[in-house]
Every structure is written in C-alpha cells, then in structure tokens.
Symmetry: C2
Subunit: 329 residues, 2 copies
C-alpha cells in the first residue's frame, strides 16, 4: 500500500503539498504540481478514503437499510437512490434486515459506527424501540414507505390509493368486493390499505362479508390460498377481489383460473404495485403504480439537503401514484 508519504518523498516535497495537489486546495506552483502528479501517475497512488474521513468526518457513503434485498420494490428504490447519489459522489452501503426488526436496530448502530453521511430506511414495521434509536442517532436520515413523526418521510398515500381502486371497481359495476391484505403491523400496506378499502365500501353502503377479508403474506402462493379460502368459506361469492400487492393478486388470479372461472366476467381482480408481472400476466392485471424509483430519487434529494444542513424538521413528501386499468377488471 503506497501512501502520501511515499509520494512526498519521491516528488521531493512535503506531504502537505501532495495533499494540496490532490485536493486542489491552496496554492501550489505549476512546476511542483506537475512533479507530484507525475509521481502519482507512475505509482498508481490512490489516497486512502479511510484516513481522509477520519480527519474530515465525511465518508461519502450512505447507508441504506432494506427489508428484503431482492424484491422489485427494493431494487427500484435503490436504483432511484443510486441515480442521485452517484452523481454527487456518494456510494451506497447496503444493509439487509431480512424483515428481522432486531437487525434494523443493529444495522442502525453499525452504520453509525461506520460514520455514513446519512441513512435511508425502507422499513415495513415501525416499532418504538426502532424509533427511539433513530431519534438518538443524530445522523441525516430519511425514511421511505412508512411515516415516522418528526423525521423526513417519503411515502405514498396508501389509504387514498386503496380507496381510489375500490371506487374504480364500483364504477365498473362491481359491488361484492373481497380483499386480500397483509398483517396490519405493516402500517402502510397492511393497515392503511385495508382501511381505505373498508371506508370506501362503507361510504357507498356496500356490505363486506367477513369471509371476504383475508390476510396473507407477501407471495404468490399466499394469494392463491387466500382466494381459495374466500371462495370456500363465502356463502355469497364476491364478484371482484382487491389485493394489496400484485403478487397476492396474481396468486388469486391463478386460483380463479384453475377453477375454470373467467376473469373478469366471473370475478375481477386488482392488485397494487405495478410489478412487471402485472403487465405480462394474462389477463393483464389492473393495479396501482407506486414509483419506487421516484421515491428513491426524492429520498436521496432530501437526504442530501440534510447533509448540507437544510431541512432538519419533519417533512412528508408524498409520491404520486397512478391507477393502471387493464383487462382483469
């Protein structure tokens, strides 16, 4: 490992001077500069970011905490983040919690110990020890997808999006609408989307049978099972089903197809998330596009502002969503 001292020696200058030419700071005569640059070139010297950040207190690294690493949601989010951060010379340090709440806290500390310049958290379940930890962090911080009071938030209007979808279904003439949700611990996807569904139905005075409302987990098989369960246990069969994620919707769709019923004539299906699958499945799935890439860009922007000392109060930035009406309804 070649160091600044070695460059200084070889170029016959002090390491102060070498530092100055590397960082384009302070005055250095043209001749000396050339000499130093030449030695750097020859040796292939690369300054140690570690040593540098020990002094400057800046690492140019952003910690990104993800609940799952290989989902479409996460990878689009990271793409959006990286788009902005890379431009400003920041790199992303990944922390994958695998949905383990303890890991969230653990990684928060780890990222702090690595002196990242900021943290982006894409959480599913927000619990109070986590929030406590975040408040004590004193590091630029932005959360995506879930609201945490007092911090910078980039979120979607899950409640309204869900309502909008129900309205769309109702406008198309569907009245008996079933619902496949997820655990309400997940406030955005589990609680708010369900609430939007229930409120929309209530406002239109449409009854919701208990058996029409099922709770699954985040995968296709679970959607399949939920749909089966809806059909098996309901006296009055629904004519439409809304699932809080596309994967759940696609599972439901598979079950319906298997039983020989037709979509949307016998049952309409709608999802949320605008996964790539939704476009290519047959029939194409009606869904809601939440642009995670935009969310990522927005979150990166907010974090950068905090790093530059602006906007250290609560911010709630809602990302627009779009209803994608396709032939499954």
């Amino acid at each position: 490992m070649i160091t600044i001292n070695e460059i200084a020696q070889r170029a016959n200058v002090s390491r102060t001077t070498v530092s100055r030419v590397i960082n384009h700071s302070g005055y250095v005569s043209e001749e000396v500069k050339r000499r130093v640059l030449k030695v750097i070139e020859e040796t292939g010297y690369v300054p140690s970011e570690n040593a540098k950040s020990l002094r400057t207190k800046k690492t140019k690294v952003i910690g990104v905490i993800l609940p799952k690493i290989s989902t479409e949601t996460s990878s689009r989010l990271v793409k959006g983040l990286d788009e902005i951060f890379a431009k400003e010379g920041y790199q992303i340090l990944l922390a994958n919690t695998n949905l383990d709440p303890e890991k969230e806290i653990e990684y928060l500390r780890l990222l702090k110990s690595r002196h990242v310049d900021g943290i982006i958290l894409s959480a599913t379940n927000i619990n109070s020890p986590l929030v406590e930890e975040i408040y004590q962090l004193k590091i630029p911080f932005v959360t995506v997808g879930q609201h945490i009071p007092g911090l910078a938030n980039v979120i979607f209007d899950d409640y309204q999006a869900s309502k909008d979808m129900v309205h769309l279904l109702i406008n198309k003439g569907y009245k008996n609408i079933a619902f496949i949700g997820v655990d309400e611990e997940d406030r955005s996807v589990g609680y708010l989307r369900k609430l939007g569904f229930l409120d929309a139905m209530k406002e239109k005075h449409l009854p919701v049978e208990e058996s029409w409302v099922q709770k699954g987990i985040f995968d296709v098989d679970s959607g399949y099972e939920c749909m089966k369960s809806i059909m098996d246990t309901s006296k009055r069969k629904p004519t439409a089903v809304l699932a809080v994620t596309d994967r759940l919707a696609i599972g439901a769709l598979q079950y319906i197809k298997e039983t020989g019923m037709s979509i949307p004539d016998d049952i309409a299906v709608a999802g949320m998330g605008a996964s790539e699958l939704s476009r290519f499945i047959s029939p194409p799935l009606t869904t809601i596009e939440f642009s995670m890439k935009d969310a990522g860009r927005e979150a990166a922007g907010l974090l950068l502002e905090q790093i530059n000392g602006e906007n250290d109060h609560e911010i709630i930035r809602k990302i627009k969503y779009r209803l994608l009406e396709r032939s499954s309804i």
Copy 2:
C-alpha cells in the same frame, strides 16, 4: 461524537483498557470490565470503524460492482452474496456501472481507495484495460458471469446450456430454429450462447438461414422487434425460436401471439434465465435456470477464502443449470 477517550476518562482507566474490553483481548479484571461496560452502555458509545480500520487494515466491507442495479439477475446475485457475507460480519458497498465500461475502472479504483477487503465483479463486457486494472489491484477478487484468466471465476457453462436447449428443441421435433442473441462483446451471453446454438445445429446437420439469426438488446421490446424481423424477412419460416434471455423470448412471444399464431403449435419459443416472468407468462416459457443466488453464495465463499489467504490462483467454478421444460415448446 463520543470517543474512546471519553469512555476511558469516565471509567477512570486508560483507553488501552477500554479497547481491550471492547475487543475481548488481553486481560482485564472483572471489576474494571464491568465499570467500562457500564459507561459504554450509558453513553451509547459505538467505536469508530473508520479509525479501527485505519489501524487494522480491515474494513469488513466488500465492494460489489454491478452492470445494472435493478435487474433480477443483479438482485438475486446480491442476495446470494449478502447471505454469506452478512453471516461473517461483512457489509456490501454497491457500485453500479450502468453498463459504462469506464465506470468499471473508476469504481475499481474507488473501492480500492476505500480499502474494501475484497471485490466482486459482475461484468458483461470484459476489455483489456479493465483486466489490466484488475491485475494491478492486489485485492481479493472474484468475477461472476464472465471468465477472466488467472483469477477466481464463478461462471455458467453458457455454451453447453445453449446447446442443451437446442437439443431439447430438436428432440421435440423442431428443425427450423431461429435465434435471437445479443452483442458478442458480451462473451458469455452474446458469443458463447450463439456459438452453442450454431454448433448444435451444425452437428445435427440442420441448416440455419441467415435471416433466422437476429441480434437484440436486453429488453422485451427488442425481442418483439427481432421476432418481427425474423418473420418479415424469412422466406422459409422457422418453427421454433431460441432467445438468449427470457425478456427477449417474451418479446418474441408477444409478437407471435399478436399475429394470431399459436404457441407452440405454429412456433415454439424458448428463453434463458428463468425469470419470474417466464413462469407466469402464458404459455409458460421453456427456459434455463441459472441460479444467480447460488453463484452469489459461491462467489462470496471464494472471496472469503482469498481474504483468509487461501486460493490465490486461478479458479473456475461452474454453477449448475437446469432446463425448465414448459408448454411454450
């Protein structure tokens, strides 16, 4: 920012001692240990990894260079990597080249300057300046997906996989097989898969019309265009088409469906990659599963071995693949 000095002061010991209790190294009396631990607890002190690595020369960070950040391939690879690395306390620093060859070299240097303990490169195009740079790096290094002589490689047998798929098609009775490839600069996906196709056809003495062989890029639309071009320009129409990625195959499939032809009766379609789409598209797509997750695990393992001073010679680890025969052929 609270430091080891402050802990030492508060606990009335030297920072040497604090260091010892943090790292469980050397003797510390039970009583002193308790005192130090208590202060650490109270203050929420987290040692600076930066300062630590400046001394120890270890960062516990692995640099991962990806050609594209939000593809299924990349995210599965990262998942496999993270699975192994996280267990050993390593974190991943992401570097996304967006297919820009200059960025590969730039990031190689950047990662070096950050003193990552090792680098994983998932490259598409290997050029000689890049290879030169890698050889000079002197950092534990593993490449995934493309072969680089003299280094540790985790690859798939693209040539044989392609051949196997052609044999499968031939065994099913297809003789006029078209091919949608990508630029041969990409040695694995572009060159080797095409060569496998051509050799398999040649060995069975099956002619390949020039118009049957098209070159696209990595997306669905491109597959659509290639298929259109095959059908428009061929006097003798093919009865099957093999595409080097699932997305290309799905584009082809869309075009075929649009023209009212039936799959596989009029034309059979096969892809490669076992994307999630391939399972849910209709008809389900015959494809080849290259497990990127396994590749990731394997690559992480090899890198860890190098970090521990083993296996610094060339290694070629081939990851198994599986033919997934589905109703598109």
